[in-house]
Symmetry: D3
Subunit: 322 residues, 6 copies
């Protein structure tokens, strides 16, 4: 009535068979003496930064004017070290990938570069707080279910995704590789909101409900923009080079000007598509061409089949999705 | 080949610059001697309540008739204390916000009020179990991929979101501020399903797949209703008062009567919109007007462009979203 | 100014009232001496398997050719034991449900069956690695925002969902009950992507962004298929038997042939619906009939109401969803 | 400036050399499929038992008459399971050692025997509480530095050692192998007091300060006995059999009758040595013969060399220990 | 081959029997709504204080002049809160014991008193650091095996015991009940050195090796004193009052003047016994009378039986202890 | 009824006062960018080494011939890295202390030296296992209360102290500073047995009970030696140089030849003292001169005062220690 120890004897052989599949050409192992940034450390960095950006809400309670300096100072100190380490790893990894090196050595002092970038990020915290405060205000002003700005900071997933995006975007501007994407994909898993860290987004930004929102790498979004759940700001078909390889980096996603509102599940596509200032895009609308300023676009009265009565044979005929 | 200790010397100055941005007017700090409810504690409360609602599934194994009394009794005891503490914090916070106080003192005994509310919630557990059992049955009856009701309790995200909603809704009815929203936003992050705790929902409720579902604060949903992923039960444009401030609290979201089924990605909007008893709303349908009872609404045969052949220049012209 | 100890005295009575609701007929308790698989253990199994499938990325750093054998061997050994235990629990539970037994005893040696299945899963790891490497390549080839294949392994939610699906699908093929669904629902919570473990999916599979994707139990998906966020591969209305009970297990979901691309929020429904080889389904398209090979289907130029100017009364009239 | 990866390449070879030393004859490995009792689990059992013996002192706070039943019931339930498992392991191990088996199989149902012993131990808890309460009283009555009996329970190492001894001694009486010694050696490490679980000790027992106390396996100690730090109740030279092997189990340690006090660092040796009722043995006394009842034994005025002045050459001559 | 579920059914009855032994008269339960100080919290307080007293050695690494202020400030802030809470608990407990109250209520604001005492302790940290630095120097100067003062701080058990004593002694001077003894008994368990927190000890104090050292409550120890392992500074027989109760608090332990050295296992007893300035007490000496200044006391050449040859019958006759 | 927030306002000032005491001359801070070895890491190293030396006993259960290679290989790999790091820290620290440097920089590659030493230690594991197996055998052969050799490995404190000593002694032989003493002082705290890592000790070494044993730095102990609790192998008074500084490193502790037994609380002092082969030193004997081979030394029949009757006035007169 228990497992058979003789059967277990084949496990070493199994192990050998698995290990034999780890080859240098294999794209899904990362063996060697040159570590990638640590996922756990990057998440911890985000949590520490949020403690500084919004003191007193989450992890550390009992903060007040008498102790806040010490709390922030301790966090800044450890963030300096951890950011330096992780950025240095990301830089070294990028350098190896670009030079197709397999070993870890290099003449470049990645630690020094990482430290410079880390300190620069920390210097931008006051500016990050300034812009994030506008995002909180935009959420409060835009959501009638919201009672206080504290709620926004405390539990709005949209605000969480924006916070992580704004941190990660600063790292993109500092040319830190790899880590910004780790950050926003973590926020994506937390919130269902996928904002590429390369996008440009102005202040007073608000995403309500948010699940399913996708904002592409080359989007440009103005100030006071508001998005609802399921909005896609996406690309059109991709350009490929002569070898059939994707051309990476060109402007592929739309431009959304100041004051635009995009309702739930609307889809706006293409690098040449611009939604003009103060325009309103209705729910479920699908747009691939530019729209002028102060324009309102909604679905035409939808074509619906409506029948009285609900019986199974009818439903079957009509092929309801399930 | 390592970080420069001299560069670190600017960190204290950086700390001062950050701390200087924490001002009393600042909307994104919560400094002072008067703590908010603890996010961690609220999540722990939910996990404890789920252990009581569905004994034997998740955290504590080996429960049987001989020990279940002890397990539940221990949880009830600690829930009493923790709920009392967290509700008292929420009440004190709300009182300060309403009175625009900055300090923590008050003549009100928030602890005593919190305790009364905590005990009242615990008293409602048997009723919560009764109604949640109908939700499990509805899931089993409505999903052909479901083998046993155990699966529903164990791993259906829709059922998890409903469980948290039903707990949070009881707190709303008890006039507990802040915490209900913390709870449902936690469930939102877990499941991608955003049910406002103020909504009213009858028994035998089932959400299948669920990612992207949004149910607004003033929704009224009857018994035996079934929703699929991506369904929005949302508001129309918001009323503002003479100062341009949103009017909060009025009926803004639709009414869904008993027995209605809403298929994936359908959108139903507006506080005056009612979907009549036993009606069926098809996938991707967009509705802003009321629909009578026993009515079936599906998309008209959609207008599609269909071309044979797939080549890149064509695709480009057609502007596929990516 | 604190909670009243006398009020606490009613807690034992409350406990009794709750315990009284745990009856043998109750569908939402699992009391008894016969445990279900442990959710925590199943998640741990997934994390261990991912460490073997993609060595060096996440939990264990510093792996290299000198120590990888030891790391994998240790994991395989503990996976053998844990998989055996959890599969045996699932088999015993299924047997009891099918025979409507209430106690835990049986003549079947579920441990021995569990061990055989556990070892068989471990034997399939090299093949899993082979096919998952094609999925990574597909992601890199299909996403212009992707810099290296490492990013895919490290942080693409779509790839995480596919990984868990591919593991769970092997367990389905081995006739392991209950656990595959626990696994994919865990991935669903992590990523917002809901792939039923019973679906059949070929190599080079890529899901971009992914939030809201639903792939039903009886889907058949070919090689080199690419899906975007919000795609539903769903069922039509369900068949019921003479008692009104759902008929479970029949082919209800579509077939997607090799090389098909389905853009964001498209909906494809029905067990008889087939999307032919190398076809392209545009964003937000809604399909319930088969489409031939090499066919492109996009929305007809959508019917939109466009008005210049944005003022509140107009918006109100137009009923924008919020 | 870092470790050399080439040097690491010899680690697999090193591993092989170490593994080669693990042979079946090797007395310091325990390889095989038949586990020993878990040290961690045994310590956890002790902590759980102490929570039941002295509710409200240490790990669980906030216990009161309304919840104590639930707390104890939960602990008893898990203690039943854990004790059953660990005792069964100890019985199986002992059986293998006695029969010089190398594999784990046996016709004996060690689990069933373990369960019987576990329940018997739990039944003895009320009696353990009765006798331990006398030990607390003895400590309070005997130590002028003690303010309340709570202090004794909370932080007297002597009382901790006695508690563990009394638990372990019950297991000895139930013929549980191996585990009693694990328990008292754990207490030995905690407190510096080494009481063999086989010793017999009456009620109202008090050990003050306690470091260095040794109480041998065959000691018999009456009621109301008091020991100070460094007291040894030891054996005389051991008997050996014809093969030169030690004869294990015979009476080798002294008998201490009711009411005896033994001051610090006294040494009492031998299985035939009895200290009569109500006698007093002074500090640093060394005894190998019996002493009658109501007898006082102290060191004769010690022979000391006393010189005035302290200078190094003198000290050197006198050979002070350091 | 497993435990019998029917046998488990007696566990609830067992639980009842145990709970029935928890009565109000019972000296070994602490049930009620009025908690004792938390052992875990008190230990944490000690660890935090040691981090401040000796920054950079143990728990927190990477401290330097740029971050030490923040680290200390954070610790001071949380120490303030935790000390206040624990001292208030101790004061309330003492008050109840003295007044033989059974409930928790009182007119005294124990929190306020606790806060005053907590802040006073924190104010004494600079003075504690001054005197502890002399103890480190004394250890370095007195131990030829010591290479650096860092070793003393890092791993000398004697220094650990002195550190805890010096903290606890300050609390005694502030009239904090209960907690000082918890602290020194914790150190006793860690190091085998039992210093009563009521003792008075001057600067430059050194205990080498230390196991078994006992220093009683009313000892007075001067400056530059050095003790070795096993030294007892104890009491003579206790005075009792007319009821036979011990008289607590009177001077019972010796006075050791400046510059005295006491070698290993020496015993000095009695409240009237004084060891004069700069005297030396040799190893294993036993003293109950005062000794003048600059006096050296060693054992007279010990009376030993020496025989050549070692055979078992002889050893037996001589009764070697084991 | 709670703490006063105004009083807390003095905490920042308190912090400044404390920080002001951290000066470069201060012997009890370790501020700077050059870390000491981590106490936690050193303890973890010991636990890992014990897992390799005695596989299957403690932390990792379920080890067998099929998986032991993987377990050991993983440990060796991480031990290599951790030992390298910690030894490098110790070397750098020693170098700074010797050169009275205050900063961390040096031309020496301490990492490389650390790695060489780490690998050398790992190479000595097979030899360590060989000699430790003789120590286990000696314990079994010497203790009639011992049932199996497993007990010795599992729970004998004496064997634990010897294990740590033997590891630390190898590090001493490799000239690793600081860490050996950290290791043996940790064992000292665990067991009450203080063996200096510089001592030399032959095979088949056994310490029974052990609390209070002290073995000095320059002891030389032969093969098959047995010590009981409280034995001191100590130094005589220390030599000082012309400046009054202790002369460190000279032979100060005794030599114990093969086969010697030293009973409880015996004291043997001085670098010139040798206890000859196969001699026996009785309990509580005090020796400062050499003893020839095969000699037995016991206390002369002790001079005791014995009186019948126990009454308080008598006891008082006789000055019993308490």
């Amino acid at each position: 009535m228990s497992s058979d120890f003789r059967l277990k004897e084949q496990l070493p052989e199994l192990t050998e068979q698995i290990v034999a599949t780890y080859t240098p050409k294999d794209s899904i192992n990362h063996l060697g003496h040159c570590p990638l940034p640590s996922y756990t450390a990057v998440v911890e960095i985000l949590l520490d930064l949020k403690d500084i950006l919004y003191p007193g809400y989450r992890r550390k309670t009992g903060l007040h004017t008498g102790n806040i300096r010490y709390h922030v100072g301790s966090l800044i100190d450890s963030l300096h070290d951890e950011l330096t380490t992780q950025i240095a790893r990301a830089l070294r990894h990028e350098s190896r990938v670009q030079k197709k090196h397999t070993d870890c050595e290099s003449d470049v002092d990645f630690e020094a570069k990482g430290q410079t970038m880390a300190i620069e990020l920390l210097k931008r915290i006051p500016e990050l707080r300034r812009i994030l405060a506008t995002d909180v205000q935009a959420a409060f002003d835009g959501d009638p279910a919201c009672q206080t700005t504290d709620e926004v900071v405390f539990c709005y997933p949209g605000f969480e995704a924006i916070t992580v995006y704004r941190i990660a975007h600063q790292l993109v501007k500092l040319d830190v590789p790899f880590i910004p994407r780790m950050m926003t994909e973590w926020a994506h898993k937390q919130t269902g909101i996928d904002i590429h860290p390369g996008a440009t987004i102005g202040d007073h930004f608000f995403i309500d409900h948010g699940t399913g929102v996708v904002i592409g790498e080359t989007c440009e979004i103005g100030r006071r923009v508001k998005l609802y759940q399921g909005v896609t700001l996406g690309a059109l078909s991709f350009k490929t080079d002569d070898d059939g390889q994707l051309i990476r980096g060109s402007k592929r996603h739309p431009t959304i000007e100041d004051g635009v509102v995009v309702y739930a599940n609307a889809t706006i596509l293409g690098g040449k598509t611009t939604i003009g200032k103060d325009s309103v895009i209705g729910s479920s609308v699908w747009i691939t061409k530019s729209v002028g300023p102060q324009t309102t676009v909604v679905l035409e009265k939808p074509q619906l089949k409506v029948r009285n009565g609900k019986n199974d044979s009818l439903a079957d005929e009509m092929n309801f999705q399930i």
